[in-house]
């Protein structure tokens, strides 16, 4: 019996082998979305726990890595939803030059905050496409959706973000 079959039968040794093989990939994927190593580790453990609990639903001829990554993505989206900042940031007059590094840092924080206030699914698509520059088909596979849907999410994220930043007087340089 091969490794994936043994895993679906609940053999803990087979699961341990899979954990050691895929934990790095799952962690790497999650940390790109949540941007915090501690949180990413917790979510990786949670993902692997859910993978084990859902083992009966996995087909042994399927792609274990892609399946685990999809579970990880859903967990990361749930995490972003739970930790979405509630308050908006204060307004500032538009078009103010900001050469001071401290002010620039503050601007970056405000952009982060505006980004984190986007709906979680838009955040994930935009983060992976714009910041991480990952291919759309890879993002679509992890989100369990089409490439068209990912492109639409990125477009919406950009529109909302641009409007919010403009309203707050922040112009990306």
């Amino acid at each position: 019996m091969d490794l994936l079959q043994r895993f679906t039968h609940g053999e803990i040794d087979a699961f341990e082998t899979l954990v050691r093989q895929f934990q790095g990939d799952i962690y790497g994927w999650i940390v790109r979305i949540v941007r915090d190593p501690g949180t990413a580790e917790d979510l990786t453990v949670e993902t692997l726990w859910r993978v084990y609990r859902a083992r009966h639903r996995f087909r042994p001829d399927g792609n274990f890595g892609a399946w685990a990554r999809r579970i990880a993505t859903n967990l990361a989206i749930d995490h972003l939803r739970r930790n979405r900042p509630e308050q908006s940031f204060p307004m500032e007059p538009a078009g103010v030059p900001q050469p001071d590094p401290l002010v620039q840092r503050e601007t970056q924080e405000r952009i982060q905050q505006a980004f984190r206030r986007l709906p979680a699914k838009l955040q994930v698509a935009a983060m992976l496409a714009l910041v991480e520059e990952l291919p759309y088909d890879e993002i679509a596979s992890a989100l369990g959706t089409s490439m068209g849907a990912v492109k639409l999410r990125v477009f919406l994220a950009v529109c909302i973000l641009r409007r919010r930043l403009s309203r707050a007087g922040i112009r990306p340089e």
Binding site: Y27, G28, R32, E41, F115, V131, V158
Partner: protein, 72 residues
């Protein structure tokens, strides 16, 4: 939205979210096991020592089996 606008926003996002290290710092298997609450049966070393000693005694003094049988 124009292409330069898009690039500006992308650059601003990249500056706001600097690259993260994607390498895992430690093995998470023990954490996963704890999460699963899976406890493999572990025999402590002194139990193995006791079994070994008993076996050696039985081999050396077969008649001790009767004493064991009596106490069991």
């Amino acid at each position: 939205m124009t292409e330069p606008d898009d690039r500006q926003l992308r650059d601003a996002l990249k500056q706001s979210f600097p690259p993260v290290k994607t390498e895992l710092r430690r093995d998470l298997w023990s954490d996963v096991l704890r999460r699963l609450d899976y406890h493999p049966i572990r025999v402590p070393w002194y139990d193995w020592a006791l079994v070994g000693l008993s076996a050696a005694m039985l081999l050396a003094f077969p008649r001790l089996f009767l004493v064991f049988a009596y106490h069991l």
